[in-house]
Symmetry: C2
Amino acid sequence: MDYVAPSAEQILALHVSAGIEELAAHQRFAAADAELVGAIVEGIGAFAAGEWAPLNRVGDTEGAVARGGEVSLPAGFREAYAAYVEQGWNAIAGPTAFGGQGLPFALACCVLENLGAANMAFTLLPMLTVGAIEALDHHGSDAQKALYLEKLVSGAWSGTMNLTEPQAGSDVGALRATATPITEGPHAGKHRIKATKIFITWGEHDLAENIIHLVLARTPGAPAGSRGVSLFVVPKYHVEADGSLGARNDVRVVSIEHKLGIHASPTCVMSFGDDDDCIGELVGPEHGGLRAMFTMMNSARINIGSQGVQIAQAALQQAMAYARDRVQSVRAGAADRTPVAIIEHPDVRRMLLRMRGLTEGARALLYYTAGQVDRGSLGQAGAAARADLLVPILKAWATDIGCEVASLGIQIHGGIGYVEETGAAQYYRDARIAPIYEGTNGIQAADLVTRKLAMEGGAVLAALMAQIGADCAEEANLAALASECAAIGVWMRTEGSLDDRLAGSVPFLTMCAVAVAGWQLLLQSRAVRGAQGSIAQTKPIVARWFLDHLVPEAMGHAAAARGGYALLAGLNAELLAS
Amino acid sequence: MDYVAPSAEQILALHVSAGIEELAAHQRFAAADAELVGAIVEGIGAFAAGEWAPLNRVGDTEGAVARGGEVSLPAGFREAYAAYVEQGWNAIAGPTAFGGQGLPFALACCVLENLGAANMAFTLLPMLTVGAIEALDHHGSDAQKALYLEKLVSGAWSGTMNLTEPQAGSDVGALRATATPITEGPHAGKHRIKATKIFITWGEHDLAENIIHLVLARTPGAPAGSRGVSLFVVPKYHVEADGSLGARNDVRVVSIEHKLGIHASPTCVMSFGDDDDCIGELVGPEHGGLRAMFTMMNSARINIGSQGVQIAQAALQQAMAYARDRVQSVRAGAADRTPVAIIEHPDVRRMLLRMRGLTEGARALLYYTAGQVDRGSLGQAGAAARADLLVPILKAWATDIGCEVASLGIQIHGGIGYVEETGAAQYYRDARIAPIYEGTNGIQAADLVTRKLAMEGGAVLAALMAQIGADCAEEANLAALASECAAIGVWMRTEGSLDDRLAGSVPFLTMCAVAVAGWQLLLQSRAVRGAQGSIAQTKPIVARWFLDHLVPEAMGHAAAARGGYALLAGLNAELLAS
């Protein structure tokens, strides 16, 4: 169906939750004034609706096709990607030294949010390129930056991340790819790469002129585990010193996966060095691969969290339109026996309000997190740590609610929602990957209760929850939730064993997410007081639903968060699987 | 993957929750002694695993195919269905006068549970036949029973229910199908049917010798709405007085839907009377169609609730097997740096225990409900009303948890769970229909807070919750939940408006379901004390998880259940969809 960008919602979130005006007060982001922000939000919304949304369904039904070492997309994708590059959307937050606009990350989030709501599978292509840009910008040599960044920033070339191998999924350190130094010949100083990588998103395709693969591999004698991993840049086509494309490198797609959803995103099995002629170049120091990965991880996880918002928004729009159009049954208790649009039935409204509450809550959390990233990059005290704390919370919760909202979208359609032609089912299928990739949500929760909870002796979480409590003293539910989150944090750090923390990590993460999202919705609701437009009427109701219904629901997870490991320990693997 | 029937779980549920021994103490069910129960549970488990499970994947990938007015299934379905009929599994609870064994409904539930866990889409075929048997057995004339029941009971013929039309989904009364009396000729006394029906499950196929369609239609001058609907029996092939098959009736499949899941179940658009020669016969009194529908509804809804258990069981088995096999990452905090099977990671265990708790809780609720149906059919005081109360609770909650467990099943697999070949995704897709058909879960919840809550002035719910409270006085969480369910029931009946009740209906239903399921798990847990086998070790832990984690989570829905309609009313349709 048609995509209509939620521009007013996005501008409010940029304003209140990302604090874009404060960012624009800094020299570096001075360009991000209200006018430019408005132009970007409206512009990318229109672009996404006009160019990418029409390809969403055909991307699902036809999907990416691998044939003879080439991967092609349905008609229209090439043109739509070319338009995206030409209009400069890829360069919003890219480094200015290489053609980027250097605008706040929060604005880049808005670009991806619109593109992904219009076409989630397609949007993985620019999303992966962001990772390559960050890795090279932070860890590459000047020569590497000069060679690759401009084309990546514009989007003329795309990027990939090659981590996973069959035996090395969540455990990246288990990877076996090798990189052997080349000591002579034209490639002296570079490495010969030998690897089979799986689950490589957009690993091969024909939309960009070149594909810059970033590959994790081991050099000879490297330590075992993740400390022995190095990062290499492996272009599909070699790049000559003058920037022109040379011969094809020895890297090829073996096959693409037949997946539940995101059919337009080719998920590739990639083979590097079948002919012993795959040339890669070390990025950053040897054995520094994991650090480079961490650089990319924060924004990648935020961008996957954004996918939850994207798919929720798309599912919400379709369900709202259907609920207004579909006439079925008389209104319960009404004297008038004329059937009404189903949006008038209380439980359909409940589902729609829940969909809205979850979607807007997740968006609020997304932009709040993005704003903290931007503050961190400006050196604002505490912001980087707060962003680090929020990243796993956002990634996991937003992708969870993406699945829930897509499921509610089907439910609102009734039987027709189960029929593929309607499109509601695609959202349900597409959404399901987001809780898995870029670190499963269980891994996000583990990150929260180990590394992130330990930051500054627990003070990062404590400060956040204290701020929420202070901002919403009159909101008893939310104040209680923030206080309980803080208390569980203390319990986990001081009393709970590592196993106790891990056992309660997912319910705890959900509680934290709802606390932050509820807080930001409350602030957004306060900000629209007296404003014009429907958002001034809807936001207070959506926020109220969130605080009065969802926050108590999140409190219901406290018992599980504090439940500890003892029950799980009682079942050995044999019994548990009996 | 291979299906292994959870026979010990089923026998425990039949014993404790359905109370099969008490049922066998009655003359009518005397045959259902422990030996026969054991033989049926083991027998159908082996049959489902051996004959139906191997067809689950091909049923998904190839699916039902419509071509030239015929619908065919992949190779193997004919033989598997024939074996099912030949071994007599279809006749377990059928009326003895027509070849049925007349055993308790709870045992028929066990048959369907196994078949459906092995192959959910296939099992819709016998499930629909049950509905036709019930309609004819309760409302058909002696001649109709003689003509149709024996073949339906054996399964040689299958049945369908034809309610839905494009404009008449949840609102059955909006249907426009017509039935015109035939006054002369060989079909005098019968009706000429003209109808287009959609979403007709197994409406056409080649596995049974004949298909007996039950069709809702309006006779000339019938009152508007559901009170003017009559039920007709419309065989695919006319049946001669001697029971032999005659000419083909004027009914045909137009197309089948392209659905998210259950691909082996042909969901048909059916056309009756294209050549004005579709002959049907009235079943029961004219305008009595809705009553006949209600007859079928209880067991049909229970059987759909069972689908939640089925898909949860299937997803659980696959996830448990994967979690034991898949080695990834070292155990957090362990000195030994050898990677372990992921079942050893606390959050994977949490997911598995949650899957088990939800699955076993839903099964307990299923068999408890089935046992109440059987008691009701024996005339035991209060049982029929309690069954009526439980039906919407079971249907909605069990199908909800079916989706959740299937989703957790994907999550445990990680990236490979998103790849279709693994099979985890099929469960996720198949499961999603169950909250929709046979009355959406919203309609179940509406039934609960209107008709069912009003029964005996609220006493049916109150008595159930009081019994739970009495049985688990020492379980503070569960006692509190039962008490809160009772209190919300009172609030809804005495203070809440109809809209308030409807607005809180779904969260209230979830709370009631968790209370009953938790109670039954507790009783099952008590029953295995001192018993042999792994169930004596696992059940107490699963029940403890349910009481300590899931019951508090359900309490978190109380605010929403009591939240009322005011918030929803604040958004008119225009704003809500803005």
